[in-house]
């Protein structure tokens, strides 16, 4: 059992990691074919992972409802919504519209999911304003520089700002193209090195936390 939970996943990771790291340097069609086959497997596994996610949700909330834990009413609402969406989706064959006519699934998508997701994202606009009012203070020289740069970019990115201060557009472009791009590049280099280092550790079995379980 330990072999199946520990050694075998490590062996699979080592072999596939080395093979596909090497595949990057091999232009031969056989190598491209191997990559295509494996990405098809990944797509199939990705499909199954969706099922895993849904079944986890079902299980967790079923336990909450059965034990009548705090907030079990919300779990009941979630259950009802999930079952309703699945039933309606299967009935409409996953289509939002058939021959121009909206299906029930399409109705749920357009009048429930789209407004709900849009609402959550729209709240950001209000939160940005209140966060800016609360925290954009020139507490130090660096904070003052940040404040001035933020104001210039905010002005330069809208027509009203460019109308009032014509130079703000060009200055904000320069800030984005030069200052911002160079800093993003630096962070990207650091994070990419971290990802490469982690990949090496995972391939060679040095890092095993992704397998779950406690330390050995």
């Amino acid at each position: 059992m330990i072999f199946l939970r520990r050694q075998m996943p490590l062996l699979i990771t080592l072999i596939t990691g080395l093979v596909f790291a090497g595949q990057y340097y091999v232009p031969h069609p056989a190598s491209e074919q191997m990559l295509t086959s494996v990405t098809k497997w990944l797509q199939i596994i990705g499909g199954f992972a969706l099922i895993l996610g849904v079944s986890s949700l079902f299980h967790v909330h079923a336990v909450k409802i059965r034990r009548k834990e705090a907030g079990w009413g919300y779990s009941l609402v979630l259950y009802a919504s999930m079952v309703a969406t699945i039933v309606v989706g299967l009935w409409a064959n996953g289509k939002e519209a058939v021959d121009g006519t909206m299906t029930a699934f399409g109705w749920m998508y357009n009048y429930m999911m789209v407004p709900l997701q849009g609402t959550m994202f729209a709240i950001l606009a209000f939160f940005i304003a209140s966060a800016a009012y609360r925290s954009f203070r020139a507490r130090s020289r660096e904070a003052a520089v940040l404040l001035v740069a933020a104001i210039i970019v905010m002005m330069g990115r809208v027509p009203l700002g460019e109308y009032l201060i014509p130079l703000s557009g060009d200055v904000s472009q320069w800030i984005l193209n030069v200052l911002n791009a160079s800093v993003r590049r630096a962070i990207l280099i650091g994070v990419s090195l971290g990802t490469v280092a982690l990949s090496f550790k995972i391939i060679f079995g040095v890092e095993r936390s992704y397998l779950g379980g406690g330390k050995e």
């Binding site: 491209e32 990405t39 098809k40 997701q117 849009g118 209000f126 800016a132 609360r134 700002g161």
Partner: protein, 281 residues
């Protein structure tokens, strides 16, 4: 509590109300200020403008309904331009929750341009796997999408004639709201299969994609609602993005005024505290 202290601790619902009014009023009473076109948006426009009739244009609508306000106007403007240039349009998405929205956008714009599915455009829909889909399309498009979103087999469709994989795509644009998005299309798509790539994204993500733009990994970038408004101005068909720019202008100005006010109150408080400190000493 002094006036400055009261203002610094103001109920955030008042700020929400100010922002709400600044968004709503310009939508009801638009002003229509001119929009300056940025080089990165013009680059996407010019590239599509240079494509010959019948060139293959891939548009990947990698966003969900949450990013609809920013990325839907971008998609509509790009599709209008592509249909006007009589390009062969391949639409798809890597985000499952955005499939319905992507289908609606393509159908709506195609109907407007009197384009026929199968002959002038095809919507492939969604396939699981994220970046694996891009790699699969790079090898064999028909293997990745044996049928389009309407269930019609992709092989044999006139719009896909001569297209076997991503190497046969003339220009691809990914409108991404996260991951997978523009970066995934570059790393697993353009880098391997050598097609030209442009990008579109939400306003928040745009600064993070400038390194890709500056290094030539993407040839242009449409950033946020502003980018969509610029593109609408370029194609001469103003839509929701241009309409939204007045609201965005008012909101930005409101935030700037609020931030300046808060700093004035803060500095006045600091000055008072310093004076009191000196007097106490």
């Amino acid at each position: 509590m002094t006036f400055s202290e009261r203002m610094l601790k103001i109920d955030r619902r008042i700020i929400f109300l100010v922002i709400g009014l600044c968004t709503l009023l310009p939508l009801l009473y638009p002003v229509g200020l001119p929009i300056k076109i940025s080089p990165e948006v013009r680059a996407v426009y010019d590239h599509i403008e240079s494509l010959p009739e019948g060139a293959v244009f891939l548009l990947s609508l990698d966003f969900d309904p949450a990013s609809k306000p920013e990325l839907q106007p971008q998609s509509i403007a790009l599709l209008r331009h592509a249909f006007r240039k009589h390009l062969r349009v391949i639409g798809m998405t890597l985000w499952v929750s955005g499939t319905g929205l992507a289908d609606q956008i393509m159908t709506q714009v195609a109907k407007e341009a009197r384009k026929e599915s199968g002959n002038d455009y095809v919507f492939l829909g969604w396939s699981p796997g994220g970046t694996a889909v891009i790699i699969n399309m790079g090898q064999d498009l028909y293997g990745a999408f044996p049928a389009d979103y309407n269930g019609k087999p992709t092989k044999g469709q006139p719009v896909l004639s001569g297209v076997t994989n991503l190497r046969d795509v003339t220009y691809a644009v990914s409108l991404g709201a996260g991951n997978p998005g523009v970066e995934a299309w570059y790393v697993f798509g353009k880098d391997k299969y050598k097609f030209e790539l442009g990008g579109g994204c939400t306003g928040v993500m745009a600064p993070g994609l400038y390194p890709l733009l500056r290094s030539g990994q993407i040839n242009g970038l449409i950033g946020g609602l502003r980018g969509a408004a610029e593109y609408e101005s370029l194609i001469g068909q103003k839509g929701k993005a241009v309409a939204g720019m007045d609201a965005q202008s008012a909101t930005h100005l409101a935030i700037i005024v609020l931030v300046v006010m808060c700093n004035l109150f803060y500095l006045s408080l600091r000055k008072t505290a310093r004076q009191q400190g000196q007097m106490g000493a």
